[in-house]
Subunit: 249 residues, 2 copies
Amino acid sequence: MMNLQSLTTPHVQCGSCPIRHRAVCARCDSDELEVLDSIKYYRKFEAGQTVVWAGDQVDFVGSVVSGVASLTQTMEDGRRQMVGLLLPSDFVGRPGRSTAAYDVTATTDLMMCCFRKGQFEKMMQETPHVSQRLLEMTLDELDAAREWMVILGRKTAREKISSLLAIFARRNTLLTGGEASGRIVIDLPLTREAMADYLGLTLETVSRQISALRKAGVIELQGKRHVIIPDFDRLLDETGDDSDGGFYD
Amino acid sequence: MMNLQSLTTPHVQCGSCPIRHRAVCARCDSDELEVLDSIKYYRKFEAGQTVVWAGDQVDFVGSVVSGVASLTQTMEDGRRQMVGLLLPSDFVGRPGRSTAAYDVTATTDLMMCCFRKGQFEKMMQETPHVSQRLLEMTLDELDAAREWMVILGRKTAREKISSLLAIFARRNTLLTGGEASGRIVIDLPLTREAMADYLGLTLETVSRQISALRKAGVIELQGKRHVIIPDFDRLLDETGDDSDGGFYD
DNA sequence: CGTCCTCTTGATCCTCGTCAAATAGGGTGG
DNA sequence: CCACCCTATTTGACGAGGATCAAGAGGACG
């Protein structure tokens, strides 16, 4: 199977971009945005498509505009671990590095806003707002990676699944503005296998634990991917995390 | 038990600092270094001492000058996962955040080079060299966190131990200049329990796997902490990683 | 209506966690 | 210098949680 050519798409003004205020461009003023606008280009990927293969030369960096992508590491014997889950506004690529360290895959239909790497690096030199924001985002990602390490290293299968569902639930309500609580409905952007790769489990265990949570009334399913969480706090109880959230800033 | 007051120590010139070329100050020129020199202060901690408790107010950031520190997350029922291992030149603290997200503990005697947070943040605004370097270091740390996720999520106990030993071995030879290969001798900077917290195992399993590697001739022990690796490649075979390293830049 | 995928469920195995006890140093006070 | 104690570590026995292997079930699509 070949990596299908991604589609470039009509130009969208940065000003009306849905991730304008969260992505790497968040701090840019209108002048800076104009520069970005002139050098950016969109690329569209279908669910399941590979954006970049580990080890490939990569000449662009970019932001997820819509959809979900994953970073995955594969061991030589085929064991796979997801090491990044990229949601809208998340940044893809590492300035200063020419080859990809991980496979990047679109787990849903995906729209990306891309820059040629050289141009972006030049931007970073000249535009502190960009590199400041990138530092901020990288620190946030490091925090997320650390929470994830706790999940991988210390949580039970059931807690892992609950934690992942809570992450999706939080993200959904974040987009629509509020705090996560009460009844929440989500569409899983990952297959069972991808969830397993995220959580360091097998897909069978993922399936079993989802069934167990369903039987316990923590979640309801409509089809395979559509999940109803009748009571978000009840779900949180299953994650093994502190009840008081444990947030800092 | 109270957190013993750490000791402040005599002033050392940045120019003769052992981490001068790897820490957050690496890119600074001599003028910038002079400013850093005037606002920095050293703090010394003994092995086992806690540097910062999760949730505490923290008014400083800093670099590990010598020794090893760990970041640890504790779940409410006591399960613990190490989420950061800080070696000389690594940066501690997050600019823009006022409370610690994790426990920071000295796992060996530790010397830190500290800055008041406010002053450091001002530095970052005025000195691109500092924030550029911090971005670079944070990206490296994120990469390390991702390798770590593979270890936590997909490796067997034996592979985990081998991987950790390989990490220490690489670090040792890095300091003395070369590539890791052949016969290597290391002193473990972590207790069995801390190794378990790093790897998402119990200390019993850590102990058993170390014994197993010893019986298999992969390592030799002199005392509890002193490890001899007769053949580094033989150890690498036990890590489950690609034989060809898999490095990128 | 059959085929391909994804997902679910069952049966069994095995790695690693848990509980318990023994051992080894290392440091301290006599 | 030696006995004792405290902690870190090792080792053993056993059980449980997930992995593995195997078979079906539910949908989407041609």
